[in-house]
């Protein structure tokens, strides 16, 4: 194994093992050795996050584990990202994500955002308890292609339908995909309110977003 490969493996393993400090240290060491930041991100950090996602899918890791893995990944990204070369004309698929108004449970939303970002999507995170109109306004202003909404509470599920209604009223529904998720949400509910898709977990959310946006290649590079 070359010195570069060894460092990439350490980055990847550090993410899987949730060792934020180790990842940050290794990322600096990797840069100091003169290796390209892009490879460090894709073959180190994103590789680690994909492995964490795989473990999550296999039920070896759980929500809390993946969140901590992502902390480690972001610690590395903070160091490597400034050293990425500028690339003109690159476009990423953009989405808006948030927890609907009235609810503040954002763990699941954070996880979906992390996995979508890891998969190369540009996610605008509106946070939790998001006024319904803000989903639509932000999507319009930012030129997003899809909106992701979540809630853990039965009382606030209706807000998702309101967002779809606002999209229709504003003539934006045709060009905007809507994905929903969260504890009490189901495919049945998605069908009922006319959402484009429902996903049960963060890994499925990535597959769903790719399917809805007809993304068939793996050309979504995380930057």
């Amino acid at each position: 194994m070359s010195a570069k490969e060894e460092l990439l493996k350490r980055l990847s393993d550090g993410v899987v093992d949730m060792e934020e400090d180790d990842v940050a240290e290794t990322a600096q060491e990797y840069l100091d050795a003169g290796y390209p930041a892009f490879d460090g991100i894709m073959e180190g950090l994103v590789d680690g996050m994909n492995r964490a996602g795989q473990l999550y899918e296999e039920e070896e890791y759980f929500v809390t584990d993946v969140l901590l893995c992502s902390d480690a990944m972001y610690a590395g990204l903070e160091i490597l990202r400034p050293y990425l070369p500028e690339e003109a004309g690159e476009t990423k698929h953009k989405g808006v994500i948030g927890v609907v108004e009235g609810d503040t449970h954002d763990i699941g939303k954070n996880l979906v955002k992390i996995m979508l970002e890891t998969a190369g999507f540009d996610m605008i995170d509106l946070g939790r308890d998001v006024p319904l109109r803000k989903f639509v306004d932000t999507a319009r202003e930012e030129g997003a292609e899809f909106i992701c909404m979540s809630t853990l509470m039965t009382t606030t599920m209706g807000g998702m339908q309101d967002v779809i209604r606002i999209l229709e009223e504003e003539g934006m529904r045709q060009q905007m995909k809507v994905m929903i998720g969260g504890g009490p949400v189901s495919q049945k509910y998605a069908d009922k309110i006319g959402a484009d898709g429902y996903s049960q977990n963060a890994v499925e959310a990535v597959k769903l977003a790719k399917r809805l946006l007809n993304i068939t290649n793996d050309g979504l590079g995380m930057r």
């Binding site: 759980f62 929500v63 809390t64 584990d65 901590l68 902390d71 009235g102 763990i107 509470m153 009490p184």
Partner: protein, 289 residues
Amino acid sequence: MSEIKDFNCTYDNSAGIHADVTKELGLTFPDAYMHGDTMVVLSKALRGHNGAAFCELPFCHTVEAEAMGGIINYGNEKAGPRAKEYICTSVEELLELPEIDFTTGRIQEVLKACEILRGQNEQTVLQVSGPFTILNVLIDAKHVFKAMRKKPELMKEVFWKLGKEVLRFMEEAKKRGVGLLSYADSPGGVNILGPKMAEQIVEDFTYPFLKKAELLADGDTMVLLCPKTVFALLGTGKAELREIELQEPLPYGEACIRMKGRAKLAGQMCIKNVGYCLENRIFKEVVLR
């Protein structure tokens, strides 16, 4: 691997404030969430609307956290009070939060509402929150999860600091005639924590906490548990179910009221699922080992 099962919350239950109820009451929101007398009006109206055997209080899961310093968005008639912004950025800060003063603020109003409802011969279910629900108002969950992995002893202290306040709240409510003390902590479910961490929480907190809470049960009071908590106890071997035969099929809430004095803990269904009927006449007491 642990055998903790998950209970899925569904949306076809009584949770929430219904606009068609509130518009006829002449209440203003969020003011109605803040005062004992308006809480009573709202709670009774919702009881009638849901066809429930009991009134529920409060209308959110932020009362305990607010009483410890949490910042709340009081909401409106559609969406009730919820967390606004976090007040802690480290778990160490949580240990510095004040004890609850039950003679002031919204928590005092909730207790006042309990007392009024008791005076009107209403059965009241008081929803009390577990530590994860309270923490959701006070601090970003990522700090909690990280500390649970890196500083488990410190987190145990945090859980017990909050747990003691919850116990005090339950005691105060019991003094004011609340017959059904309902404990839930759904953000701390196995679906979020995973089996290993969920088992650890039962061991470090939930089981010993409920051993204390069940001491509040007597002829007038029963402790209700969220089915997520029940599954966690059963899956870790900390509890078993004891079947009690009812004389007739009953809605779950009604059965709980009738079982006061015969069962200390119950939790075979979510208490918010008011339409759930024990058709087989089997009431299941949760018995801690």
